[in-house]
Structures are given as C-alpha cells and as structure tokens.
C-alpha cells in the first residue's frame, strides 16, 4: 500500500506576512490565556511539602520519580487541574498521563507524596478511573508509583464508598489484568489500608526497601473497641499502644519479600525501583512501530506556531479548519473522504508519526446559499447538517472496519434545528452516528479546538463516548456548554418576560436574572472550569497539540487488540475510487 500512503495529497498554505501581522493580537490573547493556565499548573506542582523537605527524608517527590522514569520529551500529562470535588489542595492528589518508559507507551499514575503523604482525597477515584479506562482503551500497560497513606479520614464520606468510589480502581486493576494488560507498581513509603490495596492490586510489585503495604496501619492496629467517648484515660491508652506500633509498622518490605513473597523485587534506593520498572517495560508485549507505520514519520510542513495566528480566541470568528489540521499531521498531507459532500465536516486519512490516523473536524464559515439542500436558508460551518452526519456515519463505520484510530477535532455550535431539519432526519442521523461509533472498537481521542455545544459535542466523539474516547484535550480557546449563555437565558426567561409585561410589573428583575445566567454560562464554560470538572482531560498549549496526537497514535498502535492488514483496508480504496 506504499503508493497510497507514502506520499498523500499535500494541503495547507504558508502564512503570508499580512496574516502574521494582522493576527498578532489573537496570538497575544492565546498566549496570555495559556500563561494563566500554566500558573495554575505550577500551583498544583508546588502544592504540599517543599521538594527539599521530601528529599531531606531520603525520598524523591512524585515529580522527580516521573522525571527519572519517563523517556525525555514523551510525557503528556492529563488531569493536572482536575479537581471535581473542589479540594482545598487544588488537586485529587494523583498525577497521571501518557508517557514512554524504555521506549514503550504506558499510562502512568503516581500519588503526590508531598500532599498528606499521598492520601486518598475526594475526586481521586474518578481521576484514577480515567487512567485505568485509558489503559484499557489503548491496551497499554498501567504503571503506578504507589505512595499512599490511605483515606484522608476526616473526609471519608466523600469518596470511601459508592459505585465509583475509592475501591473501584482495585476492580479496574483486576479487569485490566484479566484483559491481559499488565499493571506494574513501584511502591514507596507507608501504604496502609487503601494504600496497601493499591500496592497489592498490581500485577508485579517493585518495592523500595523502606516501604510497607498493609491491610491496616499502625493507627488502626492500635485502635480500641469504641467506648462511646474519649477521655484522658483512653487518650493515655492510645498513646501507649500507638507508640509501640509506630516502632514496627505492619507489612514491611521484609514481611512481603521473605514471608508472603508479594514483592517480586526489593530495591535499595528509590531510583533503583524506577530502573526496575524500566527494565520490565522493555520486555512487555508490543509491536515495533514499523509493523504498523505506513510511512516514515515526518513533521508538518508548516510551523505549529502558526496555530496562534489561525485559531481565533474569539468564539464567533470564522477560520480555515484545513489550515489548522495542516499544522498537526505528518507532511501536511491527507486523503480526504468525500470532499464534495457534507462541506461542513472534514473527514480524511492522515498520518501521525507515520501511523495511519483518521481525522474528523468541523469546517467553519459560510457554506453557500444552496446548502443545506433541504432548506431555503444558507448553512454555516460549525453547525452540522444532514450530509455531514451521513458522511461521518460512513467514515466512522469504515474506520471501524479498517481498524484506524480516530482523532476528532471539535469546534461545533450544534446541529441544525427547525422543522426542515427534523424532516431531514437530523435527530435520527445524529443518533445513528452514536450507534456507528459504538459499533466500532477503535481508540478515539478528541481535540476540543474551540466550542463544544449541544448534541454535537456528544456525537462527535466527546468524552460522553467514554468507551471509545481515550482522552480529550482542550486549548486556551476551548469552551463547553449546552448552548450559548444568552440563548439559554432567552429559553429560560422569555415566557416569564411576557407574563411580567402583561401583568404590568417591572422587567428589570428578570433582565438581571437573564444577565446573571448568561454570565454564569460564560464562567462555567472556560477552559479552567472544564479542566477542573473533567470536561476536558488537559488544557494543552497549541504548540504542544501534536505531541498529544503522536502519543495517542503511538499508544493506539503499540499493542492493538485487532489488526487490519494495510493491503486489506477498504477505506483508502474508496477514497481513491
């Protein structure tokens, strides 16, 4: 299939000086927004005890462990700002992402040992489940850096129980193992109760000599039967018992190496543990990239810096989607699927790091007075119409058949509405697309270029497609809401305005509510809000977007569950005709 993929059709244009100069303000707005997000990222990194204090104890911080473990330049952090329960620490207390270890992609999760000795916090289990889901979706190893003091007891009611509570990741680890996906754990520090189970739930345990894992910690072991209240006598008793157990906490490395044999290895130094993990990763099953690559990996022909000139920060401003895509894919080449049909949607085959990848995105701008064909009004890109829906259904189905991972690039204002749109079956076709996605087993990722709105945020591979959506990244221009705030205010209060007017009452109180609702919509759709609530998994600078695409493609092709030989693919033949 070399003639199909080695040299595909080039697209995109070099930006002229006039464009570069007149879009300087947009560039500055995007850079400023990215800087503000970076300040929040740095704050999460600095939370808890200072690095020097951890190092003085002879320990590395989770960030130092990650830096030592991962191949340089491969780390793609996810969920850095995720904090759905609004913890005062500003974090769920685990750090996770995609990275290469010894040349192989893995999902890596580590407890932040600077914060409450890596305790379970509210929202953490949901964060971890995103990591285990990612490993499952991409069929790649999960590597843990366990250093967990267990539940933060004063807040246990917020995370201990429930369907997706702190125990659920343990079931997910078992599920991954039953699917043939290894879970490796480097274990450090004191890991009682929840921390102990996190350690033992992995496939192979790499222990530091000073670590322990235990069903219960010294605090629990020394506990007494409840007596109804505490007083000076019971306090003295607690002090006495706790002192004894502090000296010999249960579940030491010696116990679990010499007695139980749970620990496969015990290492002298912290970095030795990480070297052990690296050594194991080398031998885990994976295809050499040459098995799946359709061409040599090449950078796009245009600089990623152009993206700051092309993607408008202003949500209503039209831009050229193809020019954006040309800054993300190998050699700025593609094979477009049905270019003469459904003009509001781009569907095409591209290469990312030499791997064949399908891209689907919203083209922006005026679509001409004759489109959509079923209505007497003109169409505008960002909205989705009948042809676009049919084209996406076809493309996704064929990608499923050919086992091609899909990258969705969303910037959508929703689906066309009105009686013409209903007669054109848009409701049914949109649901058909969800059905089409669900009947594939392809890894997918979403890049939220700008707007995610209405049902198109769902059916265009959004996080709600969570069996398929490996992860979703956003930009400093991303915003997600069911509809624009002002539209929502009209929908909510229009009838009330009529009633107040008819009753002769003042309209100002309703107007104030409408303005408040619109403001709330704006505030609750910003990139930081989206990241904190998990609507996107990471806000990524435009200059780093391709790095995440490379990670996704490489991970998706590392050890896929199912193969379609290149010469048996049908989609490239359909495109060629």
């Amino acid at each position: 299939m070399r003639p199909y993929f080695e040299k595909m059709t080039a697209f995109g244009h070099e930006l002229k000086k006039g464009r570069l100069k007149s879009s300087q303000e947009n560039l500055q707005k995007l850079k400023d927004a990215e800087s503000k997000i970076q300040i929040e990222v740095e704050r999460v990194k600095m939370v808890g005890l200072p690095e020097e204090k951890i190092n003085a104890r002879g320990q590395m911080t989770v960030w130092q462990r990650l830096e030592y473990l991962l191949d340089p330049g491969t780390w793609c952090p996810l969920h850095t700002l995720y904090n759905p329960a609004d913890n005062e620490q500003g974090t769920t207390n685990v750090i996770d992402g995609l990275g290469k270890i010894a040349g192989k992609w893995a999902v890596v999760i580590g407890f932040d040992n600077k914060v409450l000795a890596g305790a379970w916090l509210p929202g953490q289990s949901e964060n971890i489940l995103r990591g285990t889901d990612l490993a499952k979706r991409l069929h790649i190893p999960l590597v843990w850096l366990v250093n967990c003091s267990g539940a933060n007891l004063p807040e246990q009611e917020k995370f201990y129980a429930n369907r997706r509570g702190a125990g659920t990741p343990l079931f997910r680890h078992a599920e991954l193992e039953q699917l043939g996906i290894p879970v490796l754990a480097g274990i450090y520090g004191t890991n009682p109760a929840g921390g102990g189970y996190h350690g033992i739930s992995a496939t192979i345990l790499f222990a530091h000599k000073d670590c322990n894992i235990a069903v219960g910690g010294a605090g629990i072991v020394s506990g007494m039967a409840p007596k109804g209240e505490f007083n000076l006598d019971t306090a003295e008793e607690i002090i006495d018992k706790a002192g004894k157990f502090k000296a010999t906490p249960p579940g030491t490395a010696k116990t679990h190496y010499d007695e139980t044999g749970f620990f496969r290895y015990v290492f002298e130094t912290e970095s030795d543990v990480l070297d052990g993990l690296k050594d194991y990763m080398k031998d885990l099953p994976s295809f050499h990239p040459k098995f799946y690559r359709v061409a040599q990996s090449r950078e796009p022909r245009f600089p990623s810096q152009d993206l700051y000139h092309l993607l408008p920060m202003e949500p209503k401003k039209v831009y050229d989607f193809d020019e954006v895509l040309a800054r993300l894919v190998d050699s700025s080449e593609h094979m477009e699927f049905r270019p003469d049909y459904g003009p509001e949607i781009y569907t095409g085959l591209c290469k990312i790091d030499g791997f064949l990848t399908a891209c689907i995105g919203n083209r922006q701008g005026y679509l001409g007075k004759d489109y959509p064909e079923y209505a007497d009004y003109a169409g505008m890109g960002g909205k989705v119409y009948r042809q676009g829906l049919i084209k996406m259904n076809e493309f996704v189905t064929l990608c499923g058949r050919d086992r091609i991972p899909i990258i969705w690039l969303q910037d959508t204002t929703g689906v066309d509405v009105g009686d013409d749109a209903e007669k054109a079956e848009l409701l049914g076709l949109a649901m058909s697309l969800i059905y089409s996605i669900q009947q594939t087993d392809n890894p997918m990722m979403l890049l939220m270029l700008r707007k995610g709105t209405a049902s198109s945020h769902y059916f265009m591979g959004g996080p709600t497609a969570n069996r398929h959506n490996a992860f979703t990244i956003g930009t400093a221009a991303s915003e997600i809401y069911v509809m624009h705030g002002e539209t929502a205010a009209v929908a909510t209060y229009s009838r009330r305005l009529v009633k107040e007017k008819e009753a002769g009452r003042p309209l100002e109180p309703i107007i104030e509510r409408m303005n408040r609702l619109a403001r709330e919509y704006h505030e609750n759709s910003r990139p930081l809000f989206c990241a904190q609530k998990g609507l996107i998994d990471e806000i990524v600078p435009l200059s780093d977007l391709r790095k995440y695409l490379v990670a996704f493609a490489g991970a998706a092709y590392q050890n896929p569950k199912s193969i379609c030989p290149h010469h048996q693919m049908i989609l490239p033949r359909i495109i060629k005709g």
Binding site: K16, G18, S22, Q364, G365, M380
Partner: protein
Amino acid sequence: MAQEMVATLPGKVSQVKIKVGAKVEEDQEALTIEAMKMETPIFIPCNGTVKKLFVKEGDEVDEGDILAIIAGI
C-alpha cells in the same frame, strides 16, 4: 494592477480595519462580515494600497459584492 476584494458571503459589515490610501499586505485582515451569529474575516488579496473602499460598518452586503479595490505593487 488593481485587485478587487469581494464579499464571500452575505451579511452585515461589522468591522472595517482599512482606510483609503493605506498600505496593505496580502492576507491581512481587512474587515469582518457578520452573518448567522458568526464573524467572517475578509482578507486583502495582494500587497498594495487601498484605492477604493465601498463599504462602512453597518452596511449590508451580498455574496460577490466588491468591498474594496487594492492597487497592487
């Protein structure tokens, strides 16, 4: 040689960023047409000087209307 700058869609001119006599560069953003809740930028077709400008903010234009003439260099 002069080149016409043409409206690519019908709508209302919401912003004009050029003036007659101003030196302009190819692909520079010249004005904005607002339609269907979206703002579409119109770009200068060639390096040169704005010879004529036929629209002002608030004007309604149709697809294909000539918005300005650029005297190329």
